[in-house]
Symmetry: C2
Subunit: 376 residues, 2 copies
């Protein structure tokens, strides 16, 4: 089978690595350069997007920020999974919020803000503190503002007004600030027959708004069930096919959806070593109509993102249960360059190995890992 | 780093899949077509062998039957690991036997046969039954003859004489027949500093002379140690760098070397799911001067070869702990087309899952799996 992935980054690359053993041929469309490439070697393929759409058996996406005409072209082919509607919801927080409401799934109370009047109304109706998020793009903590006290409102509105003026397509979603205990995410897949298979909840730690580490969460059966029920509601309401990621605020055993990603997700990279079928192959199995297989945990596993660095000390490869995943990308400050998966037979060993890893990594390049270690 | 692999088959492909996450760029030289290709996509690369040798940081091989001028060209580059001598030993049973003798490692008593006189001498000196093996090529049971009784000698010599006449480079190695209990293999790596790391012994089952299944062997600590000692002797005597596979006859807890393969090996495919670092990445780590990491078993795992078939029932993908590995090759009778790895938390579950797998596979395409099941 031939799969075309919209987006040619690390998620397409890891999909291809996981799909090659199933004889799935995976090419990727680089939105920035308008070229079709081999998802692993990045070698340019002889044909363009239209031919790639015609050649593909299935089309999917590795990210949400795809020009709408391309999404529509793919949708019209009848081969696009999870489909343009889900991708658009992932790329526009207004649509996402409507979708959560329509599926009767709880998330933070919100208001859409385009004008100063709407800005003031949001403050009056939702109360402070508030979080303002850009509707489009801006994941990884970009395009976010917090309002804690009323006296900062005027200055903040000026920032937001400038932001809106710079891009007329943008809007702002104001959300009530949620004093959450921790952030967890649930990743799973739904296939065309409605079968659903999810991984254990993952606990995520962010530094400066960017995911730093993920680890299989210590979670009660009830919490896992609660997450699965929300996943099922959402996936069914979207008639979703493929891997879907849901980020939650965990409010002392009650989950509130923060956001959804209609794709494989950074917080699911641990599944490459820690779960039976990894999220990349799970997605491909779902969109190709293959059995989903097992999403069970194999053993305790955590993931550490490598941000803005293109080397780590070679000695880390000597640590038992460690696998290094580089993305083959050019170094840029803060850029997601790769990740480390660390697995062990039990939590005690995982802590020891993580400790060993932390001692080898630069604390400036990998800040706050000790915070996560304490929580293991 | 850039790696050039001599040979562009499934072993190069799986090396590339295991090496890409380490940002190793792996191209492969197809000996049959004299072209350099991407080891995964098989897309032809713009340059030929000489440029590929110049570009590569390290050169290695996925099989032994490589034309000598090419081996010598690679050797002269100073980048070839494990090096021409080891590859030649793997490709010529005469050299292999000399090497085992030189390393003081026990194997079946043998004689080299080029003429009828030598044929008769071998029978007289070694006694019956005897196995005659072609010195060059002919793995997977090809180019082998057995002599059980003296009255069959004249007819057999005629067959062997015809074989030798057809290829003047060939010779025959006559070996005393070993009434072994089972065949096991040890796979491991040695790096340039002399560090050695080996996997648990693997038990192998052949059908019609071709490997059918491999499983982590039930073996005493003493047997594992005996195998490791032989591995160490051989690898050190060759100053070997990379993955080396040794096949043994197990004579009730005493090991006799059957043959060696200076490369990743079919009986090590289970390590992709069953061991910390799989044999493909282990080989790359060794030849690139990276830490070898852990070769420990993660959990009970077995492998089933897919021979001559380009499909299996899709339902096998629903079995927990099952991973399917296709090689992207065109179907031919008996050809190694892919393999299945099956893992479980314990042996009881592994048996259950294997039973489930056997019930889904055609017994003509996958003969004698039940024999192996009983031995689990």
């Amino acid at each position: 089978m031939k799969i075309l992935v919209l987006g040619a980054g690390q998620l397409a690359r890891m999909m291809a690595l996981a799909g090659t053993p199933l004889n799935l041929q995976i090419s990727a469309y680089d939105v920035n350069t308008d070229t079709v490439v081999d998802a692993i070697s990045q070698q340019k393929v002889a044909h363009g997007l239209t031919a790639a759409i015609a050649n593909a058996d299935v089309i999917t996406a590795e990210f949400e920020h795809i020009p709408l005409p391309i999404l529509d072209q793919c949708q019209q082919s009848g081969k696009f999974l999870p489909g343009a509607a889900a991708i658009k919801a992932g790329g526009d927080r207004r649509i996402e919020k409507q979708l959560l409401d329509a599926a009767n799934v709880q998330s933070a109370a919100y208001a859409i803000v385009n004008t100063e009047t709407e800005f003031q109304q949001a403050i009056a109706e939702l109360g402070l503190p508030l979080v303002f998020k850009s509707a489009l793009a801006g994941y990884d903590g970009k395009g976010q503002w917090r309002l804690k006290t009323a006296d900062q409102a005027a200055a903040l509105w000026q920032d937001i007004a400038d932001f809106l003026a710079a891009d007329t397509k943008q809007a702002i979603v104001a959300e009530k600030f949620i004093p959450f205990q921790r952030e967890v995410s649930l990743i799973g897949a739904r296939d065309a027959k409605g079968n659903i298979s999810v991984y254990p909840l993952t606990e995520n730690h962010h530094v400066n708004g960017v995911l730093s580490t993920s680890v299989i969460a210590q979670a009660s059966v009830e919490l896992q069930l609660q997450a699965e029920q929300i996943f099922t509601k959402l996936a069914n309401s979207l008639e979703y096919v493929g891997v879907l990621a849901i980020e939650f605020f965990d409010l002392k055993q009650q989950l509130l959806v923060n956001e959804i990603a209609p794709r494989v997700h950074n917080s699911g990279h641990w599944t490459q070593q820690g779960a039976e079928v990894c999220q990349f192959q799970l997605h491909l199995r779902a969109i190709c109509g293959l059995p989903l297989g097992s999403t069970h945990e194999i053993r305790p596993t955590l993931m550490v993102n490598i941000l803005g660095e293109d080397t780590v000390p070679t000695e880390v490869l000597a640590i038992a249960g460690l696998q290094l995943h580089w993305y083959g990308k050019t170094k840029r400050p803060g850029r997601k360059m790769g990740h480390i998966n660390l697995s062990a037979a039990n939590n005690t060993e995982l802590k020891q190995q993580f400790n060993q890893l932390i001692s080898l990594l630069s604390p400036t390049a990998f800040p706050q890992l000790d915070v996560m270690l304490k929580q293991l």
